[in-house]
Symmetry: C2
Subunit: 321 residues, 2 copies
């Protein structure tokens, strides 16, 4: 994808900065550093610099051997100026002109992109979406990130910030979302929302739940992964949460098919690890929420590049489709 | 737009078939025939043929002088085969291979497209959207039709049937839509929905409404146009309907900005005639329902080609952007 070039891919997440040297579609070496998310801007920036310096040291590459540096981060950002405009989970990232500062320091080409768009690009070019012209990518983890890749290119719209489809409401009077609006699909079906809904159900439950045993009675230890385990074991409450989540996602994905009529929907992120608990149900329900006569033909598949998708996405920004 | 070529544009609507001869962006002559919507397929088809024969007769054109025939119709249709796949308002249109049958009869190139997509194309090429790269078009009349025009081309997705954004839910437990799903924006803010909501409010109203005077007490005479008139006159109930409609549309348009990040939103159809009652409020509210930092920059404007948009849209299918 990067045509044999050597690219540094940097994935700035809410808790860690993952950095890798990528050659073709292979990650040669990885470095993980914590994200000083709540610290002043300078510290986040210095941690990004530190991760580049460290990976160069580890791989023995000289900066002149690097053909480009790709950076991805959550939230709407302006890929044209490389500036993160709004980042609810990493406030310190806001308004940092990342691309310029990195270009100044390293003297190499730098591209910056929203993490979900870049992950979608990597999946579309050499993951689950390879060979498809219209790819809808969604990652369901802490939040819900989305990207649309048309003919091997990220659809960016007017400002390069398009396809924040996790913030489309399915109930305008629904639960409050992190973004400040009501009923976004993120407020129903993100990892955070799944955890919240599970805790609510557990508090109201009359019968004992296997789910509580799994976390030794500690509600704060509930995660979507634990819910998945309990559902796998046949726990009724966990199965109910999975079924509701599948329904919320299908209502929303049905609308996304009406809008984008994609060839394929690729679902990644932690919640996609529900695997066979989730995907068959999504495939069954989603077409029933679409009005397109051939909606049932749209493939709904798990992402393929999971572990390295951030790094590979950042490197894919240098791909020429 | 049609580069000086002479095109016949045919707009098959729920009640009438509007046909015109278009040269450049000018409609030279128009013919209106009723749509035999509930009659057998053959009669609809014969009425379309009759309208072409009639307009040729009226303008004195010989069929060989016509460079192409464009046909638009509501509902998802397959522009590649020219077949209407689903048409709730004109059941007789369903599964007619329009393009093939017209090609056989007239021996001219025939292009078929969803009416809202074609109208959006005409607006994008030489209407309110001229010069913009990312155009979101919406027509609010009986139903809500939408089209997205990117770089002068209709975005069609996998099957050419994309952007049925009128059928995106804003309340998955909301009112039942014509399409069979719940809470589509069409079920809240289409002309039909506005009329329904107004009647409901009038039935529950305690105070006498100026609106009822306008229709001489006949609830069945309520239309969005009447509601607009009453609102213009300061009628509180009508103003409430307009405000609610603006809010529903803004919630939905905020989501559409999050998805498409367009340069411009063009709103046409009967309800757009509410004009200054509606547009300033849409411009005010819509950005508050988007998470994109620059959502307030997206222009929200009335359509320009109103009367002839169907015919011009059909002819625009032959335009080369």
């Amino acid at each position: 994808m990067s045509d044999g070039r050597t690219i540094i891919g940097i994935d700035i997440g809410g808790t860690k900065i993952a950095t890798g040297v990528v050659c073709g579609t292979r990650v040669l070496e990885r470095v993980l550093l914590p994200t000083p998310a709540d610290r002043p801007k300078e510290e986040v920036l210095h941690q990004v610099f530190a991760s580049v310096d460290l990976i160069l040291e580890r791989t023995g590459h000289h900066i002149e051997e690097i053909d480009g540096i790709g950076v991805v981060a959550p939230g709407p950002l302006d890929p044209r100026t490389g500036k993160v405009l709004y980042s609810p989970n990493i406030p310190a990232l806001r308004d940092i002109p990342l691309a310029r500062l990195m270009r100044e320091r390293y003297g190499r080409p730098v591209l910056v992109e929203n993490d979900a768009n870049a992950a979608g690009l990597a999946e579309a070019l050499f993951g689950a979406g390879a060979g498809y012209a219209h790819v809808f990518y969604v990652t369901v983890s802490t939040g819900i990130g989305t990207g649309v890749i048309l003919g091997g290119k990220i659809y960016g719209g007017r400002t390069g910030m398009a396809v924040e489809a996790g913030h489309v409401t399915i109930d305008y009077e629904g639960p409050l979302c992190n973004c400040g609006h009501r009923g976004c699909i993120e407020a129903f079906a993100s990892g955070t929302a799944i955890t919240r809904r599970t805790k609510e159900k557990l508090r109201q439950a009359r019968a004992p739940s296997h789910l509580l045993d799994l976390v030794a009675g500690d509600l704060e230890a509930i995660t979507p992964i634990v819910v998945g385990e309990a559902a796998q074991g046949g726990d009724p409450l966990a199965l109910e949460i999975v079924e509701e989540t599948a329904r919320f996602l299908s209502i929303w994905l049905g609308g996304m098919i009406n809008i984008f009529d994609p060839d394929i929907i690729i679902l990644g992120g932690g919640v996609s690890q529900w695997g066979d608990l989730l995907f068959p149900r999504l495939r069954q329900l989603t077409p029933t929420y679409s009005i397109l006569p051939r909606a049932a033909e749209v493939a709904i598949v798990p992402a393929r590049l999971e572990a390295d998708v951030g790094i590979l996405g950042a490197a894919a920004l240098f791909a020429t489709p």
